[in-house]
Symmetry: C2
Subunit: 201 residues, 2 copies
DNA sequence: GTCTATAGGTTGATAGAC
DNA sequence: GTCTATCAACCTATAGAC
């Protein structure tokens, strides 16, 4: 249950974020959300116009700060950042959230191929892909633009999979306690080597 | 529309596979499926007992041959397979399907964190993860079991992302025609380097 | 095996009182 | 801004005729 201390609009956003992440966008009804938020059903259509608008608002609230932080870290890395600096700037702002409610939501967004969610994703991620694409290309001038895109695509996929399957990682790795620092470090090591790898199959 | 040449049960499976992949499990109603298959609504509950059973059947029909092929290729690689051989044995049976209807369905399965689908996934993938985990560990004895699992996890995520975002790859890579041979080759190169990478962040 | 008909329940959205 | 009440549409599943 979402505490009553905050206002109705925020309670709806909090409840929707939690349930969208947990059960998906289609499987979560507005009634589920208003019950979780302890607000009236009609409040959703008053504060947001429709379920799609609500989905948009829920996603934007979390994605925008992450993307802002990514661009900040990209800029802070200077004129000629290392590959590892670029990977951390791209991955860390999302992967630092640890076990918060943000994880399942972002995993849903990344893993939902539906046109509406994909449209939102493109809108939010267009600039990021462009900027980081340039930066990766500059750091690794020996690769074509297409190869750089492939490598970014694989890295994003690995990250998305860590988020979306975070809950089953402890099961896959019995002797380790799962934490995001470790996941990030392992992923940066893995992706950096993958980025530098030359074709030779 | 699914041609009338095949029997009702197969037509339902074909239609369900197509629509589940395209719109997701929750968003696809039995009515959508029976309309696409040109069969009566009640036929679904006659041939399969419930929607969940149908989902199970749709997934099993595609996953089982892929997993069988994986184990065949693993065995065919002999006693001491190279890392590249292992990666190809794991990735190729799924990635060779090219633009068929199988892609979106498998992408859905891999990207749906819901308990029911995850349960199916575990049931179908348990043996594969175990066998390949052993093989990767044997090929790279300098890493701990947990590190091997991380690397497998990243590789699976990259593959899943290629499948689930296959339709937007041409857009990301304007100057290349997307094909699965290229995707597989790029992914094997990327993942092989990632597998061999030592911690050093 | 295939059909019609329908039960019984859910959904998103809105109208209108307060 | 918040509520109750309700609409029209949709859903899964089943009963029973053919």
């Amino acid at each position: 249950m979402i505490p009553k201390a905050v206002d109705t609009k925020t309670r709806i956003l909090d409840a929707a974020e939690k349930l969208f992440g947990k059960n998906g966008f289609d499987a979560t009804s507005l009634r589920d959300i208003t019950a979780e938020a302890s607000v009236n059903l009609a409040a959703v259509n008053y504060h947001f116009q429709s379920k799609d608008s609500l989905i948009d608002a829920v996603i934007a609230r979390r994605v925008e700060p992450v993307n802002q932080r990514r661009l900040e870290m990209l800029e802070a890395a200077g004129e000629n950042p290392t590959l590892e600096q670029l990977l951390i700037a791209f991955l860390q702002p999302l992967m630092q959230h640890d076990f918060s409610v943000v994880y399942p939501l972002m995993a849903r967004v990344l893993a939902t191929p539906d046109t509406f969610v994909t449209h939102l994703l493109k809108r939010h991620l267009g600039l990021i892909i462009e900027r980081f694409g340039e930066a990766f290309g500059k750091a690794l001038p020996e690769f074509t633009e297409t190869q750089i895109r492939w490598k970014m695509h694989f890295t994003a996929g690995a990250m998305a999979h860590v988020l979306s399957r975070a809950y089953m990682l402890p099961e896959l790795m019995p002797d380790t306690k799962f934490d995001c620092q470790t996941a990030l470090a392992e992923l940066v090591t893995f992706a950096a080597a993958g980025f530098r790898a030359k074709e030779g199959i």
